[in-house]
């Protein structure tokens, strides 16, 4: 009897430890941080941020070795967790932007909160969720990764416990985030009902948007996309973004607007390219509308903002629309070009936006204000900061030769390759919006370069070393991606990003 039980169909799954090394390093690191926080004297708590940074860099190492060793696809658990080139590129992106956020935080949190250990533990946990998302190829692992990255983010958004704005931000983010995941889960249950499997590839074969149960299929696809539209703050599901960005601590704002958003887009691309490829008649029109509305509304609202963080928030909503654009034509156009456009946009946008928020942090150390008007005279007393900020703003606006230009170029190329009326219309809408968006970026530039300082105080800004490092990393990345789009390593990255290994 017992022997019959033992001789069952259970086979120990094959675990590829090298492929899992980034996750393992992060997991062990998180446990280490908790222990360190518990047994470290209050005066030595600064160690925690250093260790957190080292853990992130340590997790990048195996990503690099995996990338160098070979381009073969490592698949685990029956194809439910896959390490391919796409996931490697994105893992590196998440880990490195996490590192920049740690650099940005180490000054900020020392000044403002006593909860150093928890802060970095949660930050790393959230990053681990993102790293997992890049490899998830199953509805369950996508869902678990999504919650893994979101739940710590809710706490981080409400981090300043005594600040009612931060509380409000956390609450709004939490309620809308959980609501969105409930909607998304319902969509997932419907898709599961249609296909009888939770693997994305199996769903891709069964969800065709044509034959049996077509109503359920459409409902499932729409609900799942709506769930992720909240995460990437696509209009009309963007309402939380500006409030949360303004209320949360600035490094967390940068983190949410870059890494968390990128993770949402990763999930969205996984679904579009693996789970719904045959249902393009369903998801394409929906994403088309989302993209067009997101770009336009984000821009129009950004135009009238007086607070720099809110302006950047709406600008990032609008940038999200540009990333949705290639996804909206993924079926009719060339899938590889679209995927590559999304990944390249995510990388460049991450560098640029993190940099912009780093400048905002540096400047607010002196002005203690978030108003755009407080940037007057920045060039006079901090020419370096004004110059880098101009670089980031120009990149966000898509002015050549900076990174943002190349990202937008890729997105437009993917859309135009679809060669349909709808695609051309979308391209025109996006092009008009690119011009409109330049208006508010240039307003800020004019403020920095031409206006005098509002209170006449022209003492220089003291920028801490960590922040300088963050600025250098993001600035160099932004510049390099724009000036040298053809250099060999970069070509290899974009080439890698284009292929989902199966």
């Amino acid at each position: 009897m017992i022997s019959a039980l033992v001789a069952s169909d259970f086979a120990t799954p094959h675990v590829d430890y090298h492929a899992l090394a980034p996750e393992i390093v992060l997991g062990v690191g998180i446990c280490l941080l908790i222990v360190l926080d518990l047994f470290l004297a209050e005066s030595r708590k600064w160690l925690v941020s250093t260790v957190a940074g080292l853990i992130l860099l340590g997790a990048v190492l195996p990503v690099v070795t995996l990338g160098v060793i070979g381009s073969d696809v490592r698949s685990m658990f029956d194809g439910r967790y896959v390490i391919d080139n796409f996931s490697l590129v994105l893992k590196a992106l998440f880990l490195l932007s996490g590192y920049v956020v740690v650099l940005m935080s180490s000054r900020d949190t020392e000044e403002r909160t006593p909860y150093q250990g928890e802060y970095y533990t949660l930050l790393l946990t959230s990053i681990m969720g993102m790293v997992m998302m890049a490899s998830a190829r199953d509805l369950v692992s996508v869902f678990v990764a999504l919650e893994f990255l979101s739940i710590p983010a809710y706490m981080l958004a409400a981090w300043r416990k005594r600040d009612s704005k931060s509380n409000e931000a956390g609450m709004k983010y939490f309620l809308l985030g959980v609501f969105a995941s409930a909607v998304m889960l319902y969509g997932m249950s419907l898709l599961y009902g249609v296909t009888g499997s939770t693997r994305l590839v199996d769903i891709g074969q069964a969800v065709t948007g044509t034959d049996h149960l077509v109503g359920v299929q459409v409902l499932g696809i729409v609900f799942v996309i709506v769930g992720f539209a909240f995460k990437v703050s696509a209009v009309p599901f963007h309402t939380w973004a500006p409030d949360v960005y303004q209320g949360a601590p600035t490094p967390i704002t940068a983190f949410l607007s870059v890494a968390s958003k990128a993770a949402g887009f990763v999930a969205l691309s996984l679904l579009v390219f693996l789970a719904f490829p045959a249902a393009k008649s369903v998801y394409e029109p929906f994403l088309w509308v989302l993209a067009a509305v997101t770009i336009t509304v984000g821009n129009l609202l950004a135009l009238k903002q007086k607070n720099i963080v809110r302006m950047l928030a709406y600008s990032s909503v609008s940038q999200g629309g540009f990333i949705l654009m290639p996804l909206a034509v993924a079926g009719t156009g060339d899938a590889r070009t679209s995927l590559r456009a999304v990944v390249v946009y995510l990388i460049i946008y991450a560098a640029t936006n993190l940099g912009a928020f780093a400048v905002v942090m540096a400047v607010s150390r002196k002005t203690h204000s978030g108003e755009i008007a407080s940037y007057g005279g920045l060039f006079n007393y901090a020419p370096g900061l004004a110059a880098v900020m101009t670089l980031f703003l120009a990149s966000l606006a898509g002015i050549p030769p900076f990174g943002g230009w190349y990202a937008k170029f890729g997105a437009f190329k993917a859309v135009l390759e679809a060669r349909t009326g709808a695609a051309y219309t979308l391209a025109v809408i996006a092009a008009v919006n690119t011009v409109v968006s330049a208006a508010y970026y240039i307003t800020l530039m004019r403020e920095m370069w031409m206006k005098p300082a509002p209170d006449g105080d022209e003492s220089p800004v003291r920028v801490p070393r960590n922040l300088v490092a963050a600025l250098v990393i993001t600035g160099v990345a932004t510049l390099a991606f724009g000036v040298l789009p053809g250099f060999s390593g970069y070509g290899a990255i974009t080439g890698l990003a284009g292929a989902f290994g199966r």
Partner: protein, 121 residues
């Protein structure tokens, strides 16, 4: 009648029987016992203390930490039960996996303990 409802018919008869029996016993005792009410006997608690305030008063926020800890550890058991029913099947691999899982949970408990969340302040 479908098979499904037929199965539930048993439950229905049980319910009827239970109600009848309880009603019968209470009825008999109501008929037989003497009835001499006094003010003391009609108090809600015969220990003699009148309840003060209503039942919807706020409870201490201290209970809250324990409730949260309970929720987390209670729900994590969801993963342990299916594993425990198939312990032999999963062999060493399963044991190591569950060891890691429990270790992480314990780490959380140690954290809560060191931060004083388990103390009744």
């Amino acid at each position: 009648m479908s098979q499904f409802l037929r199965e539930y018919l048993t439950v229905f008869w049980f319910a009827v029987l239970a109600l009848l029996l309880a009603g019968l016993l209470l009825g008999i005792s109501a008929l037989v016992r003497p009835n001499k009410p006094t003010a003391q006997k009609l108090l809600a608690y015969e220990s003699g203390v009148d309840p003060i305030g209503d039942g919807w008063s706020q409870s201490q926020v201290r209970y809250y930490f324990f409730a949260l800890l309970f929720v987390i550890f209670d729900v994590e058991a969801v993963f342990i039960f299916p594993w425990a029913t198939q312990l032999e099947r999963y062999g060493t691999f399963g044991l190591v996996e569950m060891g890691i899982f429990v270790f992480v949970l314990l780490l959380g408990l140690v954290y809560a303990w060191r931060k004083g969340a388990l103390r009744w302040v």
